[in-house]
Subunit: 313 residues, 2 copies
């Protein structure tokens, strides 16, 4: 099996590449390094099973050629800056949906029959059921969530037209080594500027879900090896959810910031389109034999340690 | 209230316009007449409450200007040739999703806060539950279904960003006066060429659902006047479903074709991506007090009568 990984130099993508290489698989990473980093994959550069294509998914010709002889596509490249869709109504459409169209077309042309896709808890929007099961309807409150939901539907129809097998993963926030953006990043960046006073957008009550990267990657490989349908949809998350207030306290403790005055600006959610309670059901995933091996606190600690010890913040 | 109707010169659109005009509402029809017909709306041309804009939704500037002072958008314009997406992977994306983006942007710019959208039973794909309820997951098997599902998600996110109220209608096939395409059209067209021998793609067993246009329009107005959520999703269909074989027999009888030899080509479905069993639950709609007033047979008879008496076929 030859694996083609879009966004393979990114946070989640590079961990998937590590796993594939450890399993002795042949891997092609296709990444434009807009957010991906060479440091995340450079340990594989001399491995004969590893090939890097520095290129953009917009380049359909090169995408088609690069995917030749691949058997399985991990499509992880995406525009993951969720709040920005409120001010730029086209960016998620271009970067998520149209890039996924390009990937599906290249799969069709190269007769690649398997795809794993990074979707999101945001497809559910403000879910009416918690923990939210996979069969909850789509009610996205952001264009990020809307375009990811759209990608799922496009994958479903290509799968039906061309007998592809699909693995759709609806992720909560992944955290851990190589984490590049999100609340832990934002809080540490603010504290670096001012370690006495920390302004936070919400009122602290939104409940958020995250999963440690190594647990998340194990979940992905569990599903791919065990799920048997043509169109497989799995939430990936952790049963334990924390309030933003609790998350901030763990970050402060982990980073050894004391005597920080927290200013809660009091909005119900962090930004327009944010969901104030994210908790995905992982019952379906647990039936395949997976469960998270680490606590959310452990994941936050690892993330803080990574960001500080690598002087990223 | 001023209503803006995209595709208002089309089959379903023009019936909605008739209803709005009968209710003394102000109506702007925005239609490029690619499939719409002047004959469907010409009886309103002299009505001071009626305005026609012959234009394309691609023309964003004119769309924005034309929507000025509108309060409510019926977005009915679409690429409704479902099978064609198998051979042209971009047409549904361009004609359904990108045109809906243009409509949503114009609404945002003009601060229009209400939208009714023509979605489809195709969003469910090969549903696992029959009759299929609105909370069934999306598993589209065609790019038509995928792009309509995508439109729903985009509408959901714009609604969340800008406090819009949305009415999403998942239609089965509408039939009746001004019907322009579909199985009744295809069967009559084939019989006109050869009234002895009728070739049919499927094996006759697929079960299809249709609703008479006047019942469908009543359902739409029932929902708009009674549904109270910000994001309202309703199936519109008929409890009675018929096999393709039964539908063909009703058409033959209605059009008075006797001694026609039917050749069933024996495919499980009519074309790649077709769903062989479509039956939507209308329980949610019936709770609002609506039910179909006519039988499916009546609708087919009316459609055959319309097509033949107007010499459309």
């Amino acid at each position: 099996m030859k694996y083609f990984v879009t966004g393979g130099a990114g946070f989640i993508g590079s961990h998937i590449v590590d796993k594939l290489i450890s399993l002795k698989k042949k891997v092609i990473v296709y990444d434009n390094f807009s957010t991906g980093k060479m440091i995340f994959i450079k340990h594989h550069l001399k491995n004969p099973n590893f090939k890097l294509v520095k290129a953009d998914i917009r380049d359909k010709k090169l995408l088609n050629e690069s995917m030749r002889l691949a058997d399985f596509v991990f499509h992880l490249s995406a525009h993951a800056d969720v709040p920005s869709g409120f001010n730029d109504h086209d960016i998620d459409h271009r970067e998520n949906l149209e890039m996924t169209q390009n990937v599906l077309e290249a799969m069709y042309k190269n007769k690649v029959r398997k795809i794993a896709f990074a979707s999101t808890s945001s497809v559910y929007g403000d879910a009416t059921v918690h923990p939210t099961p996979e069969n909850h309807p789509f009610r996205p409150t952001s264009l990020y969530g809307a375009t990811k939901a759209a990608c799922e539907s496009y994958i479903s129809s290509y799968g039906s037209y061309y007998d592809m097998t699909s693995y759709i993963f609806r992720f909560v926030s992944f955290i851990g080594e190589r984490y590049t953006h999100g609340i832990i990043f934002d809080v540490l960046a603010k504290l670096k500027k001012n370690n006495k006073r920390l302004e936070l957008l919400s009122d602290g009550t939104p409940k958020k879900s995250s999963i440690y990267i190594k647990d998340g990657v194990e979940a992905i490989f569990t599903v791919i090896s065990k799920a048997k349908k043509r169109f497989n949809v799995y939430n990936i998350g952790h049963e334990k959810v924390l309030t933003v207030s609790e998350i901030v306290d763990i970050i402060l403790k982990s980073a050894k910031y004391h005597n920080v005055k927290k200013i809660w600006l009091g909005r119900e959610s962090n930004w327009k389109g944010d969901n104030k309670f994210v908790q995905l059901s992982i019952s379906k995933l647990k039936k395949l034999g997976w469960k998270p091996e680490t606590t959310v606190e452990y994941g936050i600690n690892r993330t803080v340690g990574y960001l500080l010890s690598n002087q990223i913040i």
